[in-house]
Structures are given as structure tokens and as C-alpha cells.
Amino acid sequence: MSFSWIRVGAVARKEWYHVRRDPFTMAVGLALPLIMVVIYGVAIDFIIKDVSLAVSDSDHSQASRRLIDTFVSSNYFRGRSVPNPASAMTAVVSGDAKAALIIPPTFERDLLAGRSGQAQILLDGCDNSTVTPVLSYLDTIEAIASSKLAGATNDLPYDLRVRYLFNPELNSRWFTIPGLIVVIMAILAVFLTALTVAREWENGSMELLLSTPVHPIEIIIGKAVPYAGMGAIAIAFVYIVARFAFGVPFAGHLWVFALGCALFLVTYQAQGLLISIATRNQAVAMQVAMISGMVPSNLLSGFVFPIASMPRFFWYFTMLLPARWFMTIARFSFLEGSNFSQLGVSFLALGLSCAVMTALAVRAFKRTLE
């Protein structure tokens, strides 16, 4: 009457038949990772390049030309001359340009006189997605420009240069694709697992399972196995695409990353099971899985919005989410090459949520069966 791998195997095999014969499950399991990689890897590029810049240079001096040069040679801006400040304004208002650089006639004279030269930047504030990166470029350009201009006048002994560590080209794909693993797993693990037990309740086959000597633990493990397998395949797929199609470096240790994946997968499967057990209904389970699994892993894991800049409440709230910790493990494994002890906090938190979630799911399942 004790635990039996034969029964676990039987449940897993049966579950695999369902997966294989259900086009929806197959689509979610196989096509979805592919689509996500294409969308996030190819179509969405978080780097803003070629921002159209209307330039009104009323100074026409060496210093002003040098400033404009710095902007244009950065590759982030595409400059276009306009005759006066008013038309620069018009260009931004009409949408012809995203930004405008206005240099007053006294620019060089102020610099030479030892005062700070002032130039004005106009930005289209409606388009928030442009403003943020442009502002960060401005900081850089400003630093470069002031050093260049200073060099032109007083020959300052220092030269300011910015170097980005771990991702020297600030390639957003390097950042996005490792994080994509988190999002894909949220869908595969939570979503698909959430449907499995609910399906048994819905079509009455739970009664069949219960009328045999099968143990609740055997059902849980057996049901989780095929989806864990699909999750592992999806991770391997994203890993290969990341490394070889997008050239994302993997600086860390594969086993550290694999351990993180395994913990995260089990945690999310347990969450899916818990949803399935609590709802007993596929339609409701699907919605709860969507809200509790996919939304946090997309929005609160640091995948899209940086956690550091979240309001205090959410900053603390994300600590409850396994996705946040796995996001750290995935990104640091890929880009920084962190080892296990450097990721200790993340692993501890992830391990803890894994243990809690699994215990909850097993307990809930055992209880509903009695």
C-alpha cells in the first residue's frame, strides 16, 4: 500500500497521452516559447536608435559644431538643421522630430569667458519610451561634450569615458532573453499544470483515480512529470537560441543555472497544482493562473520594469515572488557569471518558496481527497 513508482509512471504516461492529443496543450508547450523568443528577441528592441533631432544652431561657432558633432556621432541621434529656435519647436510639436537641440548665439562666447555654455534640449514628453533612454544618453553625451569642449579651451588633464560592464554594447537582447525564460516557464508550468487536476474533476475521472489504491502523492508527481519535461525542453530551447542565434554570452555555471531552473519549475508547478485543486474548474483555473502566474512574472519580476525603481510597497512585495529571484539567477548566470554563493540570497528565497508552495499543494490535494 506504500508509494509506488509503477503508479507514478502510469499517471505520467496517461498525462502524456492527454498532452500529445490535445492541440491546445501542444501549442502552448511548443509554439509559445518560439513565438515569445521571436517577439522579444527580434521584434522588440529596447534600444532607441536614430532619434530624430532638430538642431537650431544660432552660434555657428567651433564649440557649437563640436557639440552637435557629439550628438550625431553617438549614433543615437539623427540630426537635421532648422533655421531658428521657433522652427525647432515646431518640428517637435508636429512630430517631425522627437527632440530638439537649441544652441543660443552666445554659446561659445560664454564658454570662452569661463562661464558655463548653455544649450537647450526639447523632448517630446508624450513618448515616454523615447524620453527615458534619451535622457540616459544625454548624460553620457553631456559628459563627453563638456570634456571635449573643455579640452578645446583649457586643455583639462582628464578625459571622461563611460564603459558598460558585462554588456558593453548595452544590447537589450542580452538582458531580455535570459529573463524570457522566466516568462515562458510561468506560462508552461503554472498554466498547464493548473489545468490538469481541474480537468480530472471536471470530467469525473477523479472518481476513477480515487476508487483505485493510488496515493495522492503519486498522482501529483505523475501529473507534474510531463509538464516538467516540457518546461525543461523549453528552457533548453531558449538557452540554445540565446547563445547561438542571439549571441548572448553565458558567463556563469551551467549547474547553478540548472538548479535555479529546477527549483523555479517545481515552485511554479506546485502553484499550478494549488490553483487546480482550489478551483476544480478549468476556466477559472486558467484565469487564476493568468493573474497569479503570468502577470507577476511579466511585470513584477524585473523583466519589464526594474525592481529598483518600483515604489517601496511593490519593492517589498516582489520579494514574495519566486519569479523575481529566478530572474536574478537567470540574468546573473548569463551575464555576470555569478557563482552559487554570490546568488545565495536568491537561491535561499527560491528554495524557500519552492518548499512552501509544494507543501501547500500536497496538503491541499490530500485534504480535498478526503
Binding site: M1, R7, G9, H18, N203, T212, E370
Partner: protein
């Protein structure tokens, strides 16, 4: 062996919160019996079966199934072994008892429980593995059962593509796979064609002839007639238990007649008969009526009048009459 009690419940009580689903019922079923459970929906039939199959721990009461017994006092859960019904159970609690019971009984639930997206063979393989049957034993048993239900389709056919009647037969085979002594069938013929129902009941009778005990619920009275004994349940209580003939006598101690209207009746005439003083029971039965005489004196006085409207002959009440009177409490 013949008179051996294989299923017994004493003062079985099941409560869900404040709701009492099964209210202190007691009964005993002997080996080889076809024992019918009749009652309206929600009367507690399925709950009782679930307790007997080890799917649901009772709130309190004594249950013994296939030699395995457990008693539930107020608290806590504990298995007991009683010598007359043998099989000693070490203190392992309900879970242990429940598991042992599941190896000894077969259960076919009200809902169709096989997987539609699996083939017949895959479904049977799955259930055999859950029972940890040895491959050779399983193959032989499967062959026997498929012959028993005269299965003519392929093992590779999807269950979802079978007809309702064949699905139920395959379900029965699945429930019998581990060769249980007792099989619980909860409305096994719901949604099955009349021909399919006949075939299914032939199987039930053959099971009983082979010494299996069949515990069955149904809403079809022609099926209930085929049971050895019937228990009538109403609101969680067992209100009567006897053979079909015995039940008819028990529920209808007074003479029962069939009334065949000589000419069609109007609706108001019909209404007046339902409350007529001569009858203690008056119900339509096809285009005829079944009625029970209230008492001999009134009957003798009113019968001549009635004979001008109906041709009347004495009959035995049908089980349907029994059901209507006992379960639905109508006159």
C-alpha cells in the same frame, strides 16, 4: 458462504457541515446478491456508496466491506477489527483501511470516468497499473472481461468514439479489472438506450451468478425489478428494505386496481379522482391509472359508480407506484 454478509453498515452517518446526507442507516448485503438502492436525487445513495468504496470517511458509524471493517466513533479516526468479519487491521487509521477496501471493491461512478482521449487499451492499461497488476495476470483478466462484455471493437479505438452503451460496458470491465468481490454501480445505465440497458443487466445478473455481489442504484423501475432486494432511501434515511414483491406488499397493504377509462377523461374529472374518497392512491400509468382502495367499506359503496367510467381489474402495484408513494410521498 452463500449467506455470508459482505457489505454491512450500522448507524452510518455522513454530515457535510450542517447538512446530513446519510442519516444513521443500517443494512447488510450478502454474497451474490443484487442489491438495489432507490431514491430521489440527493437522497444519499451516492454518498453511501462513496463511504462503502472507501472514498469518503463517514462522520460516524460502523462499516464492514469485504471483511474489512472500521468504526468511526465521534473521534478520532481509528480502525477496528472484529473477529466475526475476520481480517485484522493494525492501527493504521482510515487511510490504511480505505486502501485495503479499494483493492476489494470495484466502483463505477455516476459520471462516465474513463478518459475519452485515451484508447480502450490505454484506459485499461492505466487502471491495471494503478492496481499494480502483474502484466500476465492483467492480460488474462482483460481477455476474460472483454469476452464477458462481448467487446467487438478494437483495443486501439478511442473511448470517446464508442457509443454510450459500449462505453458503460467498458467502464464495467474497468471496474472489474482487479477482480473485486463486490462491485458498486452508481446509475450505470443512465443515458443508455433500452437495448443497451438490457445487455448491461444481463451482465449484472451474470456477475451475481458468478458469486460477485452487485450494489446498484438506478432510476429505472424495470431494472429495480431485477434486484434481489431493494433499499428505499429518502432524505438520507433508509425507509424500507425488501425484495421487489415484498416492498410492494409493504408499501401497498391495501388492494390495488388498474383503472382503464372507458371514454377519455376531462382534466377536471381527472382532478376529482385524485382527491376521491375511495382512493388512498391514484396515479396515471400510461393512459391508464393505478389506484389503491382507501378502505373496504367506502370502496364497496363507490365501486359501482366508478365501474361506469372505468373498466377495473385488480393488479399488483408496480415498483413505480411504490416509488411514487414511498419516495415522493404522493397519494
Amino acid at each position: 458462504m452463500e449467506d455470508e454478509v459482505v457489505v454491512e453498515a450500522k448507524q452510518l452517518l455522513v454530515r457535510y457541515g450542517d447538512f446530513t446526507a446519510v442519516d444513521h442507516i443500517s443494512f447488510a448485503v450478502r454474497r451474490g446478491e443484487i442489491y438495489g438502492f432507490l431514491g430521489a436525487n440527493g437522497a444519499g445513495k451516492t454518498t453511501t456508496i462513496r463511504v462503502l468504496c472507501g472514498l469518503l470517511p463517514p462522520t460516524s458509524g460502523d462499516v464492514r466491506v469485504a471483511g474489512i471493517g472500521y468504526r468511526q466513533d465521534e473521534a478520532p479516526l481509528k480502525a477496528v477489527a472484529r473477529p466475526p468479519w475476520g481480517m485484522r487491521i493494525s492501527a493504521g487509521g482510515y487511510e490504511r483501511v480505505e486502501r485495503t477496501i479499494k483493492t476489494k471493491v470495484g466502483y463505477m461512478s455516476q459520471k462516465f470516468t474513463l478518459y475519452n482521449d485515451l484508447t480502450v487499451g490505454e484506459n485499461l492499461d492505466f487502471i491495471a497499473s494503478l492496481h499494480k497488476m502483474a502484466p500476465a495476470v492483467y492480460r488474462r483478466r482483460r481477455q476474460e472481461l472483454l469476452e464477458f462484455i462481448s467487446f467487438k471493437k478494437n483495443l486501439g479505438d478511442m473511448v470517446g468514439e464508442l457509443s454510450g452503451g459500449i462505453k458503460q460496458q467498458v467502464s464495467l470491465a474497468a471496474a472489474m479489472l482487479h477482480d473485486p468481490e463486490i462491485v458498486f454501480l452508481d446509475e450505470p445505465t443512465a443515458g443508455v438506450t433500452p437495448a443497451g440497458r438490457l445487455r448491461f443487466w444481463k451482465l449484472i445478473r451474470r456477475l451475481a451468478e458468478n458469486g460477485k455481489t452487485v450494489f446498484v442504484t438506478t432510476h429505472y423501475m424495470d431494472e429495480a425489478e431485477q434486484c434481489g432486494r431493494i433499499a428505499l432511501m429518502r432524505d438520507g434515511r433508509l425507509i424500507a428494505e425488501d425484495s421487489p414483491a415484498g416492498l410492494k406488499k409493504l408499501i401497498f397493504p391495501e388492494p390495488v386496481f388498474e383503472f382503464d377509462p372507458i371514454k377519455p377523461l376531462s382534466f377536471s374529472e381527472l382532478k376529482s379522482f385524485e382527491t376521491h374518497e375511495a382512493f388512498s392512491f391514484f396515479q396515471p400509468y400510461g393512459h391508464r391509472f393505478h389506484a389503491a382502495a382507501a378502505n373496504a367499506e367506502v370502496w364497496a359503496r363507490r365501486a359501482p359508480d366508478l365501474r361506469t367510467i372505468f373498466s377495473i381489474r385488480p393488479i399488483a402495484p408496480s415498483l413505480e407506484d411504490v416509488f411514487i408513494r414511498a419516495i415522493e410521498g404522493r397519494r
